[in-house]
């Protein structure tokens, strides 16, 4: 690092008067931005790249309780851990695949739900009216709450005997018979999806509201003069102009939901099979047999999947925008 500093602090005149001279000092001048990036680069390496590589290396080891203290001594296991993780006939692989499907289902529902709610609210609040600011603030509350506070409250509300959800649905409104479980069995899936949508839609709302600011008002006026109704304006003006925002928004919502650890962890500790999100599944799977190599192998598989989806999605988006 000190080398680059010396290079940049050379006595080059800050502003070269003539063209040719400017070119001659280009290397020195251009190193400065790189030098400024170096700390960030080192931090990036230390925080992301190196741990990722370490994780990939760990996935090849037979890293059990006998070696976790000094895992460099763990025996090399080759692809054994991967074989166990993808063997869908074995109990470990079967559970992992099940967890993967649950996670996909939760993610699809949450991304769709959060986006629809966010869009509806953003369009609804597009025109000024009295109390718009208050509503906007209120809408953002779920997003502003710390995740632990929010989810633990939901956990209390979803409890079978003392929770508010059953109290309202069953005792007050008589919509359901008896007290169903929300944190166990099939309903836990619904509980998880509801909480995720509740937490994420304000972000979609915020992003789409920002996106709508860039839609020129005269387009709506022109469309209105042409006789376009609300739906037509939404379809032909709003949505096409929001496409760049949506492209990023959907990806972020997807990644956040797919990878989420906090919500299922706080809600269930160890989620029931119907709400077994993959991040927490991997976490629990590695602690259950104390084979952290196996956990790492599962994480690497997850990373590979997310990478492929993300690259595919961005690539497809680019192709489409080029054709458009």
């Amino acid at each position: 690092m000190s080398d680059t500093i010396t290079a940049t602090s050379g006595d080059a005149p800050p502003r070269a008067p003539r063209g040719p001279r400017r070119r001659r000092f280009k290397p020195g001048r251009n190193l400065l931005p790189y030098a400024l990036v170096v700390p960030a680069l080192i931090a990036e390496l230390a925080i992301h790249i190196v741990p990722m590589l370490v994780g990939a290396w760990m996935s090849l080891l037979h890293l059990t309780q006998f070696f976790i203290r000094n895992w460099t001594a763990a025996p090399y296991g080759g692809l054994t851990n991967y074989r166990i993780a993808v063997d869908t006939n074995g109990p470990v692989g079967k559970d992992l695949l099940h967890s993967f499907f649950i996670t996909v289902a939760v993610t699809v529902l949450v991304v769709a739900g959060a986006w629809l709610f966010g869009l509806a609210a953003a369009v609804f609040l597009q025109k000024p009216f009295r109390g718009r600011g208050t509503l906007r603030t209120l809408f953002l509350v779920p997003y502003a709450l710390p995740v632990f506070t929010a989810v633990i409250t939901w956990r209390f509300m979803f409890q079978r005997d003392s929770g508010m959800v059953n109290n309202v649905l069953s005792d007050e409104l008589h919509l359901v018979h008896g007290h169903p479980f929300w944190l166990l069995g099939g309903n836990s899936f619904a509980a998880l999806v509801i909480i995720h949508i509740w937490r994420l839609w304000p972000f979609a709302f915020l992003t789409l509201t920002a996106g709508l600011q860039s839609v020129p008002g005269d387009l709506y006026e022109a469309a209105a003069i042409d006789g376009a109704g609300f739906v037509r304006r939404l379809r032909s003006v709003t949505l096409p102009l929001l496409r760049p925002v949506n492209r990023v928004l959907l990806l972020v919502l997807f990644l956040w939901t797919f990878n989420d650890f906090n919500v299922p962890y706080i809600l269930f500790d160890q989620p029931p099979a119907n709400a077994d999100m993959i991040s927490i599944h991997i976490y629990n799977a590695s602690f259950i047999t104390w084979n952290f190599g196996l956990g790492s192998a599962m994480s690497v598989l997850l990373l590979a999947f997310l990478l492929i989806v993300t690259l595919g999605y961005l690539g497809a988006g680019r192709l489409r925008s080029r054709h458009a």
Partner: protein, 436 residues
Amino acid sequence: MKARGTAALAASVMLAAGLAACGSGGGDKSSPKTLTYWASNQGRSIQQDQQVLEPELKKFEAKTGIKVKLEVIGWPDLLNRILAATSSGKGPDVVNVGNTWSASLQATGAFQSFDDATIAKVGGKGKFIPSTLTSTGAAGKPPAFVPIYGLAYGLFYNKKLFADAKLKPPQTWQELVTDAKKLTVPAKKQYGVTVQGASYTEGSHFAFIFGAQNGAKLFQGGQPGFDSPQMVAGVKQYVNLLAGDKVVNPGDAEFVNSSDMLKEFATGKAAMMMVQSFATAGVEENGMKAGEYGVVPIPMPSPLPPGGRKVASHVAGINIGVFKNTQNKDGALKLIDFLTGSDEQKITNGVFGSLPVVQDAYSDPKFQTPETKTFKDILANSAETLPMIPEEAQFETLVGNTVKQLIADAAAGKPVDDQAIKDKLAAANKKMQSGG
């Protein structure tokens, strides 16, 4: 130019600070006069544990000048936190562990072993009641831990509810079930038994205790036998309270912490509960007076199934140990000597409802109650130590979570028969084989 240099300097200083922070593991290098202590949750809440331990640790500080940073960790997280500390090398100096994990954690090599010279520094082997030393590590090796609190399972019963129904505390498992059925009145929201259904540790303990009553062996020649017919019978004995006998409120399947269960029992919503001795304190804090409940050993099927063993509890309890990464081993041992000393044992066990691990402490009248006598008797006559082998903790997580799932299934009204139990236990068994 100057600004650039300063910025670069600042950046490298920050980086160096970050790396230095990564490097300092276990304890605080800069001040050997502090210790970090991870305590387990013994009282009714983590806050209560803090309130009980903080003044004691202040006494220790006054005596030795060593300041102790206390963190109380709940049971659902404790084992994972210890494992994370083991693998990262960043952890406390002194830590409480469930005594059943001793051999498993010993195998990691992360704990200071109590060879003769080391154990002498905490008062010597003779200080502890011999039975409490049976679960401190694998046989033939110096212990990795020493005991701090003794515990045993017992059956708590509500004297008034039993008297009203003209019942006596059950002597056999069959009696327990018939009594529980008589005491279950769903219309009054009253049930025969309450269980901590979502706790994997409880699930694993009962799988062991009832498995032993049915003749099961968890491991044979190092191979797990979680799905043997005897284990299936044992797990069924427990889960059936909810699934077949229907003497448990299905809502109990959501209970993660003991506080929920203690409240059900103390408020008369359940007539019985099977729980470790610490519950005496929690029951009384929930408004039940000392004479209003009784404790008897958890009954066994009569006659015992072939090969069945007279086991009413495992040798339960809490151990304490020193992380090898500590920078202050002597201080850590001093803290252990202090906490296992007779005076502290009287105070802490008295509040937590656990049993002292040193004989001297029993002179205190607090430990002369009928309940304490019952628990001491259970430990002496009908308690078995969980296998002290490295795979023990995996047994607890795998089988404990299986039992938890079965209870959730039963609560949701799914049929939980022998086949369902066997299938789930067989999956746990396979995971154990493929993972280890």
